[in-house]
């Protein structure tokens, strides 16, 4: 696993994709930080929360090549023909991408240092936002890894993870839309449904959909409200995608044999 991790991690610095991801992250975080600094109020929790919106671009860049690149080079076969444990391969690649996001985050740590030196505040909300940042990163990286494993093309892998992450980020909007559509449709007189019950039903539909939304679950961390349940959820979903990635690779191993 360590060998895989080292190899994958070093690959980010031997190709342009790692540096491009660094550049995008540095520019976006820098832009938000400088804007806040110029206004005289710096809330790092707010910055980190905003940065999460850009996962939709950053995660595909970082994860699209994790397995697709091996397929392109033909080195993928080594995973199936050598005594390497596939779980180690999956976890090694996952950790390498996480480490890359960890290094990107140094930029934010520097900004936090500048904030403190400038008399600003780093409070529980900031810590909460950092915790959530890494848990969501884990979730999305695992998702990107899965996308990379299911297809031979880097572009398709990137588009796949982009769409799924976008869908997750829009969950609350989509749920509101679905609830509103239900309400509009069922409120027609022909159905003769009690408006209060209909409203309750639509509200429950919205809540049900939102229950799956990791962003909605973790939204209170930035205010300093920590909860184990959303973190457990993110960790479980990340684990689920890693497991599915493992299953995809296992299937390929049978095919090879």
């Amino acid at each position: 696993m360590l060998a895989i991790f080292k190899r994958e991690f070093s690959m980010y610095f031997k190709t342009a994709s790692g540096y491009i991801a660094f550049a995008i992250f540095a520019f976006l975080s820098g832009y938000i930080f400088v804007s806040q600094y110029a206004s005289g109020k710096v809330n790092i929790a707010s910055e980190i929360t905003n940065l999460r919106s850009f996962f939709v671009v950053l995660i595909p860049i970082v994860t699209m090549g994790l397995f697709s690149e091996d397929k392109k080079r033909g080195t993928e076969v080594l995973y199936y023909t050598t005594p390497t444990n596939i779980a180690s391969v999956v976890i090694g690649k996952f950790l390498s991408a996480m480490a890359l996001f960890g290094i990107m985050f140094i930029n934010v740590l520097v900004q936090m240092f500048i904030t403190v030196c400038s008399g600003g505040v780093i409070d529980a909300g900031t810590m909460g936002a950092i915790v959530v940042y890494f848990f969501l990163t884990a979730l999305f990286v695992a998702l990107g890894l899965f996308a990379s494993a299911v297809t031979d093309s880097q572009i398709i892998a990137a588009i796949f993870s982009f769409l799924i992450i976008l869908l997750i980020q829009l969950t609350s909007t989509i749920s509101a839309l679905i609830s509103s559509t239900f309400n509009s449709f069922l409120s027609a007189k022909v159905f003769n449904i009690d408006p209060e019950k209909l409203s309750e039903f639509c509200s429950n539909v919205e809540k049900f959909i939102n229950w799956f939304d990791p962003l909605s679950k973790t939204k209170d961390f930035r205010y300093g409200v920590f909860s184990i349940s959303p973190l457990f959820y993110c960790a479980c979903i990340a684990g689920l995608f890693l497991f599915l990635t493992y299953q995809v690779l296992e299937k390929k191993r049978w095919t090879q044999s």
Binding site: T15, S118, D123
Partner: protein
């Protein structure tokens, strides 16, 4: 020929045998492959379902107990006061909080940043007693009629409606915060200083779920200041607030436990004065507050007739504090008044903010059986100003002046008179919040008048201040940061990416 045919048959037979063997082998592999495939799909499905079921169970069992509000002032968590009140309500209580809007999604930088998460916490911790919904009347026009079939409340878009059974009350999001009045006066915009969201919603919940022990009437129709905040204070003491407009047929209802004249800017009519005198002589309780700001031309002769019946008078003057350690602004019209020893133990500060105060005094011709006591007074260095020919003229009278006094007559009729609105007005309370010492005094005055023992008092919550040192957020400082974070670092990575790409593109 026959030998050749025989050989051919042998070869064909061997080939056929081999083909059969291959076929049976392939069939075995296919079967194994299929079963592995089904096993993998089945296992994946089981794991997916298990993950969600496990999370649903974990969420249901532990989400409440494993949630910790580590924020400085617990902005998004209901306090133990609210929690205890919700717990004390019967299990079948159904409180509906309906936001008449689409559910706000982008909360950052809006009032909803503090309202939406806190309301979620109400719903979460109330064991089903509180439900929070967002219904936009533009999308569902019938919702207002559903909530308030009798049109007893003035409900409109953007409000929160709090309903329990037939009782209903409303809150405007902007009223859930206190604002810096200096910024408002100087720059013309609202700068929130603290969050009274929980206080406002809890008081509203109390108002719709509790049979109020007392009833207070606000005399209205005198161009008076709004009294929403004062009503909230009364609600926290389980006192119902009702408006009582002045009219030709003005009469004080029999169920009136407390009458309040908060910040009138015109004098009361004669018939109202007569009713008040009668009310006090029969043991009624009255709170009067006024000041010398928007009503500087008003002498309050009728009001003074009422107060004179209790040996009190509000003078037509403006107190100016000349002691620099008590004065808060140039001119001394805003200053710190000292609380008398009788009341000092009831408030958290020995001095209270007073602004544009009229002096309150005991009149010379004292009536029998009336006990008058001061509550708040200025220093000996205060002076009085009056308006002469529409000009404020500083008088030569200096000395100590009373800003608030209490009088009790033989029939237990009680009147508290405040020469400033800093104890009752929305402007003051919304600026300094419900934890302010002035509000503490108001609360204690009401509590003492009506012998109220129970109360639901939720403190204001101050905001986290993310301001940085002004000297550092200058143009040059920002330019340096912009250069480093927006140009040097990102372009450094882009250049490195280009170099790496160029070097490795042929590998």
């Amino acid at each position: 020929m026959s030998k050749t045919n025989k050989n051919k048959q042998v070869v064909e037979s061997a080939v056929s045998k081999r083909a059969n063997e291959d076929s049976s082998k392939k069939s075995a592999t296919d079967t194994r492959f299929k079963s592995l495939k089904y096993y993998a799909i089945g296992l994946s499905l089981i794991v997916i379902v298990s993950v969600f079921v496990l999370n649903a169970i974990f969420d249901g069992l532990f989400s409440k107990s494993l949630t910790f509000d580590l924020s400085g002032t617990a902005q998004n968590t209901i306090s133990s006061v609210t929690q205890n009140y919700l717990d004390s309500l019967p299990a079948e209580t159904e409180i509906r909080i309906v936001g008449l809007m689409d559910k706000p999604e982008s909360l950052a930088g809006t009032p909803y940043e503090y309202i939406v998460p806190l309301l979620d916490d109400y719903a979460f911790k109330s064991n089903g007693k509180v439900t929070v919904e967002y219904i936009n009347p533009k999308t569902y026009p019938t919702i207002i009629a559903q909530l308030d079939p009798d049109s007893s409340s003035q409900i409109s878009d953007g409000m929160y409606v709090i309903k329990c059974g037939d009782r209903i009350t409303t809150l405007i999001p902007s009223s859930c915060f206190t604002y810096d009045q200096n910024v408002m006066a100087q720059y013309g915009y609202y700068l929130p200083t603290s969050n009274v969201v929980e206080s406002s919603f809890t008081n509203a919940i109390v108002a719709v779920t509790t049979d109020m022990s007392n009833k207070a009437y606000f005399i209205t129709g005198l161009q008076e200041d709004p009294h929403t905040s004062f009503s909230n204070i009364l609600s926290s003491l389980f006192i119902e607030s009702v408006d009582l407009p002045v009219s030709d047929s003005f009469a004080i209802p029999e169920d009136c436990d407390l009458l309040i004249l908060s910040g009138p800017n015109v004098d009361i009519p004669t018939n109202v004065a007569d009713a008040l005198i009668s009310f006090l002589s029969n043991g009624g309780k009255l709170i009067v507050s006024t000041d010398f700001y928007y009503n500087s031309a008003e002498h309050f002769n009728n009001l003074n007739r009422v107060l004179n019946s209790m040996n009190l008078n509000i003078d037509y003057s403006l107190i100016s504090e000349n002691d620099p350690s008590y004065s808060l602004v140039d001119g001394g019209f805003e200053f710190l008044g000292t609380v008398t020893s009788d009341y000092a133990s009831l408030v958290s500060s020995p001095t209270l903010r007073v602004s544009y105060a009229r002096p309150v005094r005991q009149i010379d011709s004292t009536l029998p059986n009336i006990v008058v006591t001061p509550l708040i007074y200025s220093t000996q260095n205060a002076s009085l100003s009056t308006v002469v020919d529409e000009q404020l003229t500083s008088g030569s009278v200096t000395g100590q002046f009373n800003i608030a006094m209490k009088a009790v007559n033989g029939s237990a009729g009680t009147v508290y008179v405040f020469g400033t609105n800093n104890f009752t007005s929305d402007v003051y309370i919304s600026t300094y919040g419900f934890n302010d010492a002035n509000v503490e005094l108001t609360r204690e005055v009401v509590r003492g008048m009506l012998n109220v023992n129970s109360s639901i008092i939720v403190d204001s919550k101050t905001f986290a201040d993310y301001s940085i040192n002004d000297n550092l957020s200058t143009g040059s400082g920002v330019s340096v940061l912009a250069t480093v974070f927006l140009i040097v670092i990102p372009f450094g990575f882009v250049v490195t990416a280009a170099v790496v790409y160029k070097k490795r593109k042929n590998l």
